[in-house]
Symmetry: C3
Subunit: 380 residues, 3 copies
């Protein structure tokens, strides 16, 4: 298991191994330059003529932190890096990168249909522990692929949620991508759910995704009843979503409606609405937040984004994640940028006397690991 960090990015601060409470697996095969670059953006298209996805905060962060782990100089040219990566092979490069990310525990959203490494493989490569987070929409799509009727589908889904609750540490919803967060707040009536399921199955080709708002709400409420934490994508992501329909405040009605169930909600990413997510974590006892994906994509600006989240979010409510997907590099950058951002804030706030060093160290341990351990019941 990864050791704590003290050094170039941790400075004088002893930070515990990180718990990455939301990430995905990595690709196993070697990648050509264009395929590699496509993982550096949320865009779904080639870069505009005359531009490169390496010319982004994330591209610069990868070139800063990763080349030394593959025996190259920081900020070496992109082509030199990707060539060296292929020379070593994806497996060896992944082993080196994941072994150095300082993450002690991965909570892996196994929802993507792409062929990525699962929790076990990720844990082995990273010398860490791993747990599964189950994506609700994927459960529904698998149940639909096998179902003969609406009733059969709903029964199979119920069983799948129940089984997942026995092995996973949490659920994840991508309703933001499939519809938006402007959903009706309450649980749909059973008759509505059955009708929506019938319509969906009748129109569906195998592999089609669930996007019906009634079914998406049914999934949220099915998860809420299990007592496991429920992660919700909020804020920016790829062009499948409409960003203005992913403002976490659109969830306010759901937040209120689900409160009596005791279900804890973890709002992911949030950017550029991360102050809104932090407000919800402030105002409602069962709401938590992270800045996940934003850390990697804002790079040199990650400290500012983290600071904005730490304005209203109680310090016991903010979690760390990388949202890394596909490239082992994104664990390295997500973790390094987060540690560096956190340390910068600790230095600033203790330097001016606003925080005591003792409190600062305690808060750092909470956001790096303690909050996630408490929310997901990880022990350790």
């Amino acid at each position: 298991m990864a050791r704590g960090h003290r050094g170039p990015d941790g400075g004088a601060w002893e930070l515990p191994p990180l718990v990455d409470h939301h990430c995905h697996g990595v690709v196993r095969e070697d990648l050509d330059d264009d395929a590699f670059a496509s993982y550096l953006t949320e865009s779904d298209a080639p870069a505009a003529p005359g531009t490169s996805f390496f010319d982004t905060q994330l591209g610069f962060a990868v070139r800063r932190w990763c080349p030394p782990l593959l025996d190259l100089e920081p900020h070496c040219p992109p082509g030199a890096y990707t060539a060296r990566r292929r020379e070593l092979g994806a497996h060896e490069a992944g082993r080196r990168l994941l072994g150095a990310d300082g993450i002690g525990e991965y909570l892996v959203d196994t929802g993507p249909t792409a062929d990525l490494t699962g929790p076990g493989e990720l844990a082995a490569a990273g010398g860490a522990r791993a747990h599964e987070v189950v994506r609700l929409e994927r459960l529904a799509e698998r149940a639909a692929d096998a179902a003969g009727s609406a009733g059969g589908f709903l029964a199979a889904l119920e069983g799948a949620v129940e089984r997942a609750a026995g092995t996973a540490v949490g659920f994840k919803s991508v309703a933001a991508y499939r519809y938006g967060l402007d959903l009706e707040p309450g649980p749909p009536a059973a008759s509505e759910v059955r009708a929506a399921a019938g319509r969906w199955l009748a129109a569906r080709d195998s592999g089609d995704r669930v996007a019906d708002p009634v079914l998406l709400r049914h999934l949220l409420w099915s998860a809420a009843r299990t007592g496991l934490p429920l992660q919700l994508h909020t804020g920016f992501g790829d062009p499948d979503l409409r960003l203005d329909r992913c403002d976490p405040l659109l969830l306010t009605g759901f937040v209120r409606a689900v409160r009596p169930t005791g279900c804890r909600l973890v709002l992911l990413h949030g950017y550029p609405y991360h102050r809104h997510a932090a407000y919800l974590a402030h105002a409602y006892p069962h709401v938590y937040a992270d800045v996940g994906l934003s850390v990697n994509h804002t790079g040199a600006r990650a400290a500012e984004v983290l600071a904005e989240a730490l304005e209203l979010a109680p310090f016991g409510k903010l979690l760390f994640s990388t949202d890394a997907y596909g490239l082992p590099e994104l664990y390295v950058t997500g973790a390094a940028l987060f540690r560096e951002a956190l340390v910068r804030l600790l230095e600033e706030w203790t330097g001016g006397g606003a925080w005591s060093r003792e409190d600062a160290a305690r808060v750092a341990a909470l956001v790096c690991a303690g909050n996630a351990r408490r929310v997901y019941g990880l022990g350790g």
Copy 2:
């Protein structure tokens, strides 16, 4: 009356005694630890398991600034602070805290139904002057408690607004909490108001709050016609409100409609939409803004929030307030954080040559006191 500040938080800058243009009274009795902590948050529930409301920017700010005033070390443990506070007693602790807040004048919103100190008591404890700001919804609720008919209620309300205009320095609206700011902009017709009043009185139990949008608009327009400044809650607050319905830009129609009356609007708090409030203060001559409540709750980040407001807000349009409620500590922190934030910005902007020191001192005097004196006609 409090003296100006020059020292640890004022640095080389001579700041005038602050005019706190929006605050509330304080509780008179001793508080146990949980009751004390409940004033550190906008949440309406106990802290989530394993977390504490002291672990927030505001909690850390209280522990920084207040213990020395009660003979303790900064950042002493929360329990030590609350114990010492009870040892001294609420009265003595309040006297020490309010006497050191550097606020020379309090404009007290007397709207809360809780048993808090009024303007006179606050002024005496703080060695300062105090004025009343009358909350419109409270006037309506008191009139309703005594009224026998819609007509009687509306006449009583009209009289109450008129009397208040003779003694208060401004009005305050919490329409944001009761309905949201997405109100129809114009004044409701008399027949609409009478019908809404009738419906409300018929359904009402004594003590029920006014939440009907027609009545809320009637209150706004009743205040606008008096010529006194009208304060409007905007932005975050407790979970009674839906944050996305408190964006000050939702008031744009009202801002335009009320402009010919000459009524000056003061947009309170605004966070996380404080840049929106600053825009309205920039674009419309009769609009003013503060960052009030945000200063206390963002603590170590208050300078950034203030800086964001000072992007578009003309320097003659931004006011200071603490929005302190219940705890005398919140005057101390609200004032100290504001002075520190302001001085940090003055140092930065004069240090780089962007502002002259003479201009900076003049702007500081405006936002600390001068703007409020002009808007509320305080003299002095």
Copy 3:
């Protein structure tokens, strides 16, 4: 042509002459104090009693950068500056100011009806090159002034767009001001356009502006089909617009619908939604952004606003503009504030090792000039 900058504001960085991809002309006559001040704000009214438009970030920026160019001390009193300006005369003052702005190329929106200098006159005064950007709504209004029928109007408009595409480097839309950005995304049907044109012409007095959403969409799609870049006002501006209807995310549907045409969209200003504009530039290959007007109006805070845009915007997608209008001073401040902001970020990000100096210099050249040259095909 202006030389690159290396010195007080460029520091150790050699920045190329700027390409100002969105600006307007300047007034030719001398201005009294009130008229001068009216150009320092987006407000349409005199300053509130007791306040001055000079007491703003832009006012302070003008007083910092411009007096030395007219032989005065930085931060001299406003009245001394305006008096000296009149003493020199508008022509000589303009020559001095524009000659020192460090802008090598102006792309001039010739849409305002006010009597401002055109591209040629601006280029001559500034010792620079200039190109025209044609405002769509102005084309429509000119065509309407001359038209006898809806059919004649639409044919004239089509011809005008075609002719403009032969000489201009881009089009500009102010649909944000005339209606808002919450337009239907697709092109309106020909029958809809004809009906809307008929209604508008029938109701129209000469000089009336186009505000019909169907006609505004027709203009956007007419421009999109020419293959020239299309600039769209987004974010704050004068009180003609409703800011919450100018969030660039409201364009998401149009962005998607227009994508197959290959039309490049350049989102102007964006503030306070500039992170939203940057997201669109990140997610969609044909979208570009600037922070234009925001740089002048946020003054000492321009580095922060620029940094926020550089979180998600790919570095090949962000452009420079002043949006200067009326006063030659606004070119000086827009350019100086931008260079200073950019250099501050380069210093910070290279100083911490996040960016290499080589990359930083390359990115600086892109945002100062290279991106605009590529997007508008300027050569050079």
